[in-house]
Symmetry: C2
Subunit: 261 residues, 2 copies
Amino acid sequence: MLSVKEFNALGILRQDGKASIFHQLSEDSLQNLLQHSVLRDVDEGRLIVQQGDAVGCIYMILKGSLRTFRTDAEGKEATIRMLKVGDTCMEAVMFMGGPSPINVQALSHSRLLTLPEKIVKAHVLNDAQFATNLLRIVAKHYKNAMHQIDAMNIKSPVQRVGYYLLLKHLEAGFDKQQFALPFRKQLIANYLGITPETFSRTLKHLQTVGVEVDGEKVILHDQLALHHFCDSDTAAICSLYQEDKCPIYPCHGRRAANQTG
Amino acid sequence: MLSVKEFNALGILRQDGKASIFHQLSEDSLQNLLQHSVLRDVDEGRLIVQQGDAVGCIYMILKGSLRTFRTDAEGKEATIRMLKVGDTCMEAVMFMGGPSPINVQALSHSRLLTLPEKIVKAHVLNDAQFATNLLRIVAKHYKNAMHQIDAMNIKSPVQRVGYYLLLKHLEAGFDKQQFALPFRKQLIANYLGITPETFSRTLKHLQTVGVEVDGEKVILHDQLALHHFCDSDTAAICSLYQEDKCPIYPCHGRRAANQTG
DNA sequence: CGGAGGGTTGAGATTCATCAACGCGTGTGG
DNA sequence: CCACACGCGTTGATGAATCTCAACCCTCCG
């Protein structure tokens, strides 16, 4: 049970720009939600939700990191998402109906803000802004999932890793030629659907196109090294594209709305 | 531009049970939406939306079938969804921001109901039920995507095909030991991320566990033949599980809400 | 100092995609 | 009415690519 004051003190913003469940909520609405929220600390490795569990609440990361993944009978794991501070999970699962299709695990000692299912579901019906926020977030997750799907279907390990690094590059800022891997290599490899060995070999191979990885550091020797791995919908978040300078996907001002018909 | 009367005459219901964008909408709300909707016929093979296009509208299938897929520079395709009558697409994409990450193609001559983006986005803010409907649908798509991801990561072709057939089996009704493949084998193969050849060989292999496929017909010689491919969250839609008779995932009444803490 | 875990490197095995050929049903045109 | 072509699905042989297994280096930490 938190007050808005305490909440703001935690530094979790209702920022524009980034998709957040709290984006542009009114003071009243926020208060209403927080009234029933609870803070919870979890240790590294802890399973917070297990496949098959009933859904309990939405989790927002205030500190630490989580991952969501699926397991099969043989114990093999497929990572769905890897989350950092400010990310939320289980919002989508809450609206799927049925038990949770995923596990949620703490990658490090983490502090979570939890919002009970009942409160969330009631709130969705009362606050259209909140509903829209959830919709945006789930859609974003879905988009990400689609990238994972085509990555595993039609892309080589080099392309998968390249695309992953490209995203991190764009997140870090297009002009930054150096940034850090956000997770341990093992985890990233599993997320990309390859073994740690293949991941390692792939990184080595990427040196030939000007991408050097030293420990956690990623260094781009060629400004456009990773842009070969870009696709049309990813270009949209690249500043080059927005300035109409993208060498691969010229946006010609802005493309008009779908006109087929 | 349709009236509610014409709409009802089309046989598209606001049924309970099945997730639909029109589920439980008030007469007013529905009228409001339909006012700006347009019917559109498309020929087989026609690309309705292309990767990189701006999003135009939501499509609901009144007749025929569609698929959504991603393509890469080399022309290889990864199918995301295959849609039948009553299904909708682009609802999720509409809330992703940016250009469409997917292509939409007619698999057969189809009739579509289109809802313009502007109308949808405005309506979400005015009708919480509509927003909830969209949320449920996008969440459902996301769940499906998660299954695709772990299928391609940790499952063998046999398991993928087995799971796909299991879903169709449960859709057809658990007691039906015979049902039809909903699409051409080529398409299903691509959807599952394998080649038509591998798909064919896999079907042959499945005969050894009592699953016979003859043309479009799927015949189960063993009532539980496909249940080996089930997982905990899929069990929830199986009548055996609901009657507490599932041999693999006993549900013990109903599992209580997540209690880890 | 020694153990544990992450990451890298190498050799071998497995598996699925690729390429090619064929059977079969359907629709078309002579 | 038949011949033919076309598309879908199947089957077989081949090869490339990644997973697996194993050994090794390194850092971190007790």
